[in-house]
């Protein structure tokens, strides 16, 4: 039989925090920053399928670092929360602040409950306000604390080195192309400003924006592939192509068609006489 040793609550919390922090520090970083027309999300992510950045609601975006299954769970919970609220009340009643609070409650409860292990995640909830100065970036940590970030937020392993590079070039009125380039430069110099910057290609980046100028109510859109490459190399901002439907499989009929074999010649009735003639109705 094992003996339960007494652990002081301070020590217990510290251990849990260290555990969570270590998990987060292993991950690649994510940057969320304001730009001229909204909010920009840039993440280093080599997977095309597992997103670190995604849409929660019309004007709310989500970014996360840490354990994928845990933040994916949080993302889905956030979408459920937002959709349920929007459906029950009105689309305008879904706010980033409400969502950030709900996340904070959830993360805080999990962190301080002895039974579960703390989530090894850090998340950002960003919201486009009615006017640019009401745009918000909320950053939530594993223990449920919320910080309201001023200009930009960096999460992940080398957040401090990245934030330093970002801080030197950041201005709120940066255009999309400039802001993206700055963020990518910051992400790639995560070994500190003295050492050589790494090279980050289009397929190692996940970029999305909450675009105030978008005509549709859903302001979130991803910038991928050729559009992202254009954004990083040329000075042109890619046009909003609206919704690009994903490629789909060609339509295949459930049943294949057939042609009937040629029947007996038309005059066969006369040759065979009575046998082929329609039967008389029963008397």
């Amino acid at each position: 039989m094992s003996i339960q040793f007494y652990v002081a609550p301070e020590q217990q919390m510290k251990d849990r925090a260290d555990f969570a922090r270590k998990g987060i520090a292993r991950g690649r970083s994510v940057i969320v920053l304001h730009y001229a027309d909204g909010i920009l999300f840039v993440a280093e992510n080599r997977s095309q399928a597992l997103h670190k950045v995604s849409e929660i609601y019309d004007r709310i975006g989500f970014a996360a670092v840490g354990r994928y299954n845990e933040f994916e769970n949080l993302r889905m919970a956030g979408i459920r929360y937002a959709d349920l609220r929007g459906y029950t009340y009105d689309r305008t009643d879904v706010t980033g602040r409400g969502l950030a609070n709900a996340y904070a409650q959830l993360l805080g409860t999990i962190f301080s409950s002895g039974g579960e292990k703390p989530y090894e995640v850090e998340i950002i909830v960003a919201e486009l306000g009615a006017t640019p100065d009401l745009d918000q970036i909320y950053r939530l940590t594993y223990d449920g604390s919320v910080a309201d970030e001023e200009n930009f937020a960096v999460m992940g392993g080398s957040a401090e080195a990245i934030a330093q590079v970002l801080g030197t070039g950041f201005r709120k009125e940066l255009g999309l192309a400039e802001a993206t380039k700055l963020a990518v430069r910051a992400l790639s110099s995560d070994n500190g400003s003295d050492s050589q910057a790494r090279r980050l290609d289009v397929d190692a980046l996940e970029v999305a924006i909450l675009d105030r100028t978008r005509a549709l109510p859903r302001k979130f859109r991803r910038i991928e592939g050729a559009r992202l490459a254009a954004l990083l190399t040329e000075e042109i901002e890619p046009e909003d192509q609206g919704v690009v439907p994903p490629p789909t499989l060609p339509h295949e009929p459930a049943v294949t068609e057939t042609e009937l074999p040629p029947g007996p010649p038309a005059d066969s009735n006369e040759v065979d006489g009575q046998q082929q003639a329609p039967q008389d109705p029963a008397p």
């Binding site: 889905m76 959709d83 349920l84 929007g86 029950t88 409650q105």
Partner: protein
Amino acid sequence: MSDRSPSVGLTADFLRADTSSFADFAARVAPNVLPTQRNASAGAGDLAPHGTTIVAATFPGGVCVAGDRRATMGNIIAQRDIEKVYPADEFSIIGIAGAAGIAVEMVGLFQVELEHYEKLEGAPLSLVGKASRLATMIRMNLPLAMQGLLVVPLFAGWDPATQEGRIFSYDATGGRYEEHAFFSVGSGSVFARGSLKKLYRPDLEATEATMAVIQALYDAADDDSATGGPDMTRKIFPVVLLATAEGVHRVNDAQVGELVGEVLSSRMDRPDGPEAPLR
């Protein structure tokens, strides 16, 4: 088990739900917000306003859906500018005839359902998938339909897989049927379909298809008291939505007004509408 009020934060249900369907999720955590989860006594149908005629027609580049603007309550016109045709998502359209309150809620639920799925799964449902999802929702409404709160949708959209506009119709039990070329639902649907039979051609352009559905709605209003004709004095015209490869767009009111003007002036000469050749 869980709190029934959606105003409370993220409960364990939000984390553990194992469904991509918003309706299923809401039924679990907040069933009271769903239109289908309520009891109605017989005869509730007489209390609810009813929406009337929806018409859809395909054309080579997509599909066009139009609805008149009238809601009736018995012999009373409950509303003269109700809208019964909505974009369901970026590539599909839903039009609903029947008990107006339930219908509007059903449209809202269906819109959230599609968006919810898209956000959770990272990809939209296929057009047929959307049509099937709507069938499930209509089936859930069957108990209410039996009490007189019948809702009959018409679903149409651009299918990127087959590169064509497609139309789906439903019955109260949730049966889903694909319609070809054109279809209509609601009280004036018989007259509208008769009209479209004579006007429709598979090679119509978007504008011509729009004209055809406006003519059909006029014919429906001509013979069905519950379907509203164009209201020239108040400038209330049918709602016309197009679903094409570029997405769903509403034909602007001024342009619909012009087409309605053409219909009216030609009917000054021939009140029954365009003449179809006898053979």
